[in-house]
């Protein structure tokens, strides 16, 4: 009960600051929306070649995962700002659980991602996407899992590096292969064999495939199994890393 209360206090504080300065929420949202508006129409004439019939039913799941991965990975930047101003140290010297200090922040990141995902899906429907309610729910849950994993990892990285100058290139270095090998923009199936095989080693690709399957109404294929498994495993691992970093004596 105390632990939950501590998580809620941290969550409320973070949410209040986000609401006071919503610029980053809007900027984070802008990228997938622009992709949807400006890149989506380019897919329309090509969609038949991907083995799909609706460009937006294909594209929105990719954008959802992109939102989850890219948006959440920037969560750590605000943590560095708080650390620099002594907030993290002040919190760590209270009797509150150090795990709660991370989870409260993670809850804020997940709520923010959830709202952004709803807006993106709504926009997708407005542009002609066809997806069932159940598929959208499963897709958003998978997005939240992968987004939560990235947010936890970002917070852990932030508290380890304590420098935006180190964080930014690291994120860039990780994100570029993720973007290119996960089939967010175009399906890996249209690529040469070696590229397809390389993408097999990219866990996010499986998550993208799973969200696409869910939006297409397929819930029992291997895509769904592997995508869900990877999302859960990555979430677990990142949560463990983030928690360990917050609990570490010298953070």
């Amino acid at each position: 009960m105390t632990f939950l209360r501590e998580c809620t206090i941290v969550y409320n504080r973070q949410l209040r600051m986000n609401l006071r300065n919503p610029a980053w929420v809007i900027i984070g949202m802008l990228q997938p929306v622009l992709y949807l508006l400006l890149f989506g129409p380019l897919l329309k004439p090509l969609i038949g070649q991907f083995g799909a019939s609706n460009a937006y039913t294909f594209f929105v799941p990719g954008m959802l995962v992109q939102l989850g991965v890219f948006g959440a990975f920037f969560a750590g930047f605000s943590l560095i700002g708080e650390w620099r101003e002594g907030v993290i140290e002040a919190e760590r010297v209270t009797p509150a659980s150090r795990t709660a200090l991370l989870l409260g922040r993670l809850m804020r990141d997940l709520l923010q991602l959830f709202v952004q995902a709803l807006i993106l899906v709504g926009l997708g429907y407005a542009m002609g996407m066809h997806a069932g309610f159940r598929g959208v729910v499963v897709g958003i849950v998978l997005t939240l899992l992968i987004g939560g994993a990235c947010a936890a990892a970002s917070n852990a990285l932030a508290l380890t590096t304590k420098s935006e100058d180190v964080m930014a290139p690291v994120i860039n270095m990780v994100m570029m292969p993720v973007l290119l090998l996960s089939g967010i923009l175009l399906p890996m199936t249209i690529g040469p064999d070696w590229l397809r095989r390389a993408s097999d080693f990219m866990p996010i690709r499986w998550v993208v495939d799973a969200v696409r399957s869910a939006f297409g109404g397929q819930f029992d294929g291997s895509d769904m199994f592997w995508g869900t498994s990877w999302a859960v495993v990555l979430f677990g691992l990142a949560l463990w890393w983030g928690t360990a970093t917050f609990r570490r004596e010298n953070s």
Partner: protein, 332 residues
């Protein structure tokens, strides 16, 4: 209130391919009684903040033991954190959050109810001259107001022991003087034990009952400011003699109680132990000998003189020559 034995903190740093081990704190023993105000004085990199971070459970000691407010800092860290207030030199509030909200959230992390924190917070804002700033963001507060807000954050759960890390660094003289009054009030008004680190000599001198001097990770002295100063060669007495013909007589009279008497024009100077005690007798003696004075000045040794005596270098030189890296993980 604080008891430490053999506290050690070792950091590993890497310069190029070479790994080096830095002993930031090297066997520190501390005994601080309830109600004491202790100044922990030393140059930058001496190990002050690292010691304080170990005592406040932010850093696990590499070796040694410490109990704070009766609890072990390693095995009972939560109880220690519940019992202490900590004001970090990096601050404690986010610049774009409202001051009152920060105090509320901080207080509630101690398990206090919203109503209790709000009541205490408002009272503390009043006591620390922060009335009307409850909804103000720290970024639009002055340096002094921000530091007072940090102290309010550290006091919201009414701790009996308060750690202040370099509380007045970066403040202008007026804000410093104001903050000193508030720090003095922690003991007089609240009965709190205060442990403050500082590299300002005047700060340690004016606020502390006892000064603990640390250099290169080791405690080199622990005593009252007066006793520490008495360890130095004493107070300098400077007599300005009116009549040139009486200078030799004045030097002889001063020489009966002082060491190293020297004459410079109409000035006769010498060092005495505890000038306050011997000056009245000296004045009577000079009067009986009909030696007239234009002025008399007593120059007391500073804590810098104490540091020089203890370590062979002045505090300011030590600061300039600081080579030890900042502790890992400490906000810069």
């Amino acid at each position: 209130m604080i008891r430490a034995r053999g506290l050690v903190q070792t950091f590993h740093t890497k310069q190029g391919r070479e790994k080096t081990e830095v002993q930031a704190v090297d066997g520190v023993d501390l005994d601080i009684a309830e109600g004491e105000v202790v100044g922990f004085l030393g140059p930058n990199g001496a190990g002050k903040t690292t010691t304080l971070r170990m005592l406040t459970t932010l850093l696990k000691p590499t070796a040694g033991t410490a109990t704070v407010a009766g609890y072990d800092v390693v095995t009972q860290s939560k109880e220690v954190r519940r019992s202490i207030g900590y004001v970090s030199q990096a601050g404690s509030t986010f610049s774009i959050a409202r001051a009152g909200d920060e105090v509320m959230d901080h207080g509630m992390l101690y398990g206090l109810s919203k109503a209790v924190v709000e009541k205490r917070g408002q009272e503390l804002f009043e006591q620390f001259d922060l009335e009307g700033l409850w909804t103000r963001m720290p970024k639009s507060m002055s340096g002094g107001q921000k530091r007072r807000l940090d102290i309010v954050m550290g006091l919201i759960h009414e701790p009996n022991l308060v750690f202040l890390d370099e509380p007045t660094t970066g403040l202008d003289p007026q804000a410093r003087a104001n903050l000193w009054q508030h720090i003095a009030g922690l003991r007089t008004d609240r009965g709190a034990t205060v442990f403050l680190t500082t590299h300002y000599l005047d700060e340690a001198d004016s606020l502390s009952d006892r000064i603990i001097v640390i250099d290169k990770g080791r405690i080199v002295a622990s005593d009252t400011s007066d006793n520490l100063k008495a360890q130095v060669s004493g107070d300098l007495v400077d007599l300005e003699v009116t009549d040139a013909g009486r200078i030799a007589a004045a030097a002889e009279r001063l020489g009966s109680i002082a060491d190293g008497v020297e004459v410079d024009g109409h000035h006769v100077r010498g060092r005495v132990q505890r000038a306050g005690k011997v000056i009245p007798a000296l004045m009577r003696d000079l009067d009986q000998q009909a030696i007239g004075l234009d002025s008399i000045e007593v120059i007391r040794p500073t804590l810098d003189d104490v540091f020089l005596t203890l370590t062979g270098r002045s505090l300011r030189d030590a600061e300039a020559a600081t080579e030890q890296p900042a502790p890992e993980g400490a906000p810069k």
